[in-house]
Symmetry: C2
Subunit: 332 residues, 2 copies
């Protein structure tokens, strides 16, 4: 049993290996998703067809399937659960775009931009409902685990919205928010994968921990992308955190590290100046805050990897390990 | 086994009998709700405390409990399921207020008016999630039934939003919409009540039919109230259907019955004239459309009652029967 190490040459390799290793399983997940999202109502069918464009990395289904394979085998329940968590994730994307007033996602218009907020709210609700309905075909335990995770996701997001405009948000509060809104669901994915592969309890718990730290790293990287990414590359509306004065790790760090006058200048850029990203990034570079945030993401990624040690050597474990690097290096 | 007849002297008596008959059961439902909605996060706790003001007739929990008592006995599962359906209903109210831009509900500010749309969207999501999580403590069958009902509720609402501004909406389409958005959940309540009381299959199906027709009657009455009710009495923002050009039964009937010139006038009142309720109601009276809608609500109420015939004589059956009258006579 070796120590899991990240692959050296990055993102593309990881995504390629994912498709190679999980191809037939991911295809089965897609079939379940498309059956479940089919609607006899033409208006609803058009909306769910548009959601196909949102199709992304399928990280959450991959976590369910990889955790299953790394700790046992993939059973039919895993395909269903992988589809359910992806639907939950999509529901949160649809609602987040309403919250953020975002107009672009994966290079296409968002549901809110194309069909209005009422349709987006209801479509998100329908996705949540369909996800729970799908989960009920597995068993009540799965419903409990996914329900619990979703409770915490919503609580985390509510916490974040309530702190919008609070420029004194602490690092601890920020970590608490992203633990709820992101890490809870990635942890749940890994837990479900291991649990329905009948893995021993300590393996289940370690994989759930892996998923939690991976989620933390992922979200810090996502928040960095919102500040430093390019809209053409990511294909989504950026800068929405700043627009809503949502404090993310680099900003929290910078306000702590900068001189009083620079901190005051940063605060005024955050609260009063639209399109000040250039000046703002200069200050964040001056305080070393982008580097700091990347470093914290790397620490979480390393913590995630350390939870893989008890798994037997396998390609699946290697890809889980690679994912920790991929999720902080990605540009989309 | 007599034929179920509605009580003669109306609403107050029905509500009074509900409390008398179901007092301890409804109190247990409240305890479950308040435990489930408790949050350690102060911001979330404040929001769920505000929801206490939304506390209304508890019609849906009452339907679960009455259906159980009328066809068997109330078991612990019924209390949990009654709390879960009430949470689903509350979630739809919170989201509906966002959709309608409503500022008043049960004489207090709506969540969207007090805390903004992002908080409302997320709080509604949390209520959905908590409801499903609660249901998972019963069994997977309950999760499937509630999930299926919620799927149809969302589909019905999406259908309605997509038809906003369609002045040619047919009566059949209107019935299809309210069947989804309202009757599906009231039917599910009665089904759950009978099912978890171990009632025979035909009793379960007849009670589910009762709940469906009751829901249809209830929604027609609700749509009438939105046109003719008084904000002081109902304690909620009225006229929201008209604001969004949502066609309800009286309008659909009037456009069919009025002369070409009156119909043209009605269409222009609907689409172009704000605060034209007075003129609009005159036209609806002229075409007999308010009377027609009331009559259709009464027909659905009678269809609901006809499904109670196979139940043994009991006070619970009588109250189910009375509810069909209450739901179309109520003024709030």
């Amino acid at each position: 049993m070796g120590v899991a190490q990240p692959a050296k040459n990055g993102s593309l390799k990881t995504v390629g290996r994912l498709s190679l290793l999980l191809g037939p399983d991911l295809a089965e997940v897609e079939r379940i998703l498309s059956r479940k999202l089919h609607s006899a109502k033409p208006h609803v069918a058009r909306l769910t067809a548009h959601l196909q464009h949102y199709r992304g990395k399928r990280l959450r289904p991959a976590l369910v399937l990889l955790s299953a394979r790394a700790s046992g085998s993939v059973e039919p329940a895993h395909h269903v659960l992988a589809a359910a968590v992806e639907m939950i994730h999509t529901a949160t994307l649809v609602h987040d775009d309403v919250l953020d007033g975002a107009s672009l996602r994966r290079h296409v218009v968002t549901i809110n931009a194309g069909w209005g907020n009422p349709t987006s709210v209801l479509l998100g609700d329908m996705l949540f409902s369909q996800a729970f309905h799908l989960t009920s075909t597995v068993d009540a335990r799965a419903c409990a685990l996914i329900g619990e995770a979703t409770n915490r996701v919503c609580e985390g997001e509510l916490h974040q919205v309530s702190q919008s405009g609070n420029l004194s948000l602490s690092e601890a509060d920020y970590f608490d928010i992203i633990d709820g809104k992101t890490a809870e669901l990635t942890s749940c994915c890994c837990r479900l994968g291991a649990l329905y592969a009948n893995a021993p309890t300590d393996t289940v718990e370690r994989l759930a921990e892996y998923g939690r730290y991976l989620g933390m790293a992922f979200q810090i990287a996502d928040d960095l992308l919102d500040l430093t990414g390019l809209e053409e590359a990511t294909g989504k509306t950026l800068g929405t955190d700043l627009d809503q004065q949502k404090m993310t790790l680099p900003l929290i760090h910078a306000l702590r590290e900068l001189s009083a006058s620079d901190a005051e200048r940063l605060r005024s850029l955050i609260t009063r100046t639209p399109d000040a990203t250039g000046d703002l990034l200069s200050l964040l570079r001056k305080s070393g805050s982008l580097t700091y945030a990347r470093h914290r993401a790397e620490q979480f990624a390393a913590q995630a990897r350390s939870n893989l040690d008890l798994l037997p050597d396998s390609e699946f474990r290697d890809v889980l390990s690679d994912l920790t690097e991929w999720c902080i290096r990605r540009e989309t």
